[in-house]
Point group: none
Chain length 208, copies 2
DNA sequence: AAAAATACCATACATTTGTATGGTAATATA
DNA sequence: TATATTACCATACAAATGTATGGTATTTTT
């Protein structure tokens, strides 16, 4: 019964979800307007009315910040999986979403985070396995010992991150794989983000 | 550094926790006043100032509903839990809520599903580790090979489920633990639910 | 081509909200 | 006894908030 949202409405809904799930406090119209650069709260008001009419939120009249999500009852929310990441030897990244998975709403996805599916077993001693979905936050600075997603020569890897003097060391927990040392000025090296969570669905048998 | 709260202040703090954790929206001063029967918001304001001075909450000036709890981390919130689930040898279930455990409360759980945190390592070959959070659906019939949560003699276990002629076999993936055979008519045996997913936050270091 | 939906803007207004300020009474503390 | 602290009240007020109305421009649908 629920109609589709427009792109702008979807963006606003994403912001609402982020605020409600994250900070625990829904935003006011003014805050939403500020966030999206609107000069007027009425614009937001109209968008919220549309989103509510389409059944994605519920608002209690006249109460401030009274935005409730109605999709909370959905246990799983479809999210696009952007690509596959090699925890073992590097694999190529796919430019667009290769799949969508049903992510449980308990798994917090900070805004701007994305999902990648892990291939290979180099992180099995860090309890990440082939087939697992990692939640990647690209807006955090990596600390030593954290698990990061990095791009190296057009391939993506998931490894533990250690900062050295002039180099960055990417280590597999699995001793079968050699540590990778990268010069900091290496042109095609980039930290994509930090793995903030791992999710695995038990619905299908694992590929191993 | 935190001083003790008076009884009234404690009551108000409890209400704040209830509102923030439950509805996802902190109350306004007027709502608090209404709840406690105060005729004036100033009374509430004074109580909140006291509670804040004692370090239990934090408020951002002039913003409506801007009451933050300083008690706990943002991602994990204390919640009453039925008990801990042993993936290794059975642990006793506690009759009441054991303490407060770390359950992600970012989203409200559907009424019929719940989360449990796994203790022990008997499922490590099924890629479930101590500290992981398993998502349990109690409304599914278990099939052979699925991972279930079961109660046996007042203890809860997470094992792989196999149905035999007159018995049910619960198997640990870890060979250190012996399979458990249960007669189907065993009075104190019950399948609690099926593990449909596993979630792990990387924010904290794993306990191992 | 006409109508409807979308996406903004400006202005306006009644309430809500947070925050003073000043007062009374009871209780605890020095 | 004197003095804080606690626990309420009433009144007042600026700012924030949700809502309403009317307008323009673009895009989509009919």
């Amino acid at each position: 019964m629920k109609q589709d949202l427009t792109k702008i409405q979807k963006n606003i809904l994403d912001y609402l979800i982020d605020r409600i799930k994250g900070k625990g406090m829904p935003p006011t119209l003014a805050e939403i307007a500020r966030h999206f650069g609107y000069k007027n709260r009425a614009t937001v008001q109209q968008h919220l009315t549309s989103i509510e009419k389409k059944g994605f939120i519920k608002r209690n009249a006249k109460l401030s910040r009274s935005i409730e999500l109605t999709l909370d009852e959905k246990f799983f929310v479809p999210k696009p999986v952007l690509g596959e990441v090699a925890a073992g030897n590097p694999l190529t990244i796919y430019p667009d979403a290769i799949d969508t998975i049903e992510l449980p709403t308990i798994a917090r996805m900070p805004k701007d985070s994305f999902l990648l599916r892990v291939k290979g077993d180099s992180l099995k001693d860090a309890y990440i396995f082939s087939g697992d979905i990692v939640i990647v936050n690209p807006n955090l600075e990596p600390n030593n010992g954290q698990i990061v997603v990095a791009i190296l020569d057009d391939a993506a890897v998931v490894k533990r991150f250690y900062k050295k003097k002039n180099e960055i060391e990417l280590i597999s927990e699995n001793p079968e794989y050699e540590p990778i040392m990268i010069d900091r000025k290496h042109p095609s090296f980039k930290i994509v983000g930090i793995v903030v969570g791992v999710y695995r669905s038990m619905e299908k048998k694992k590929a191993g």
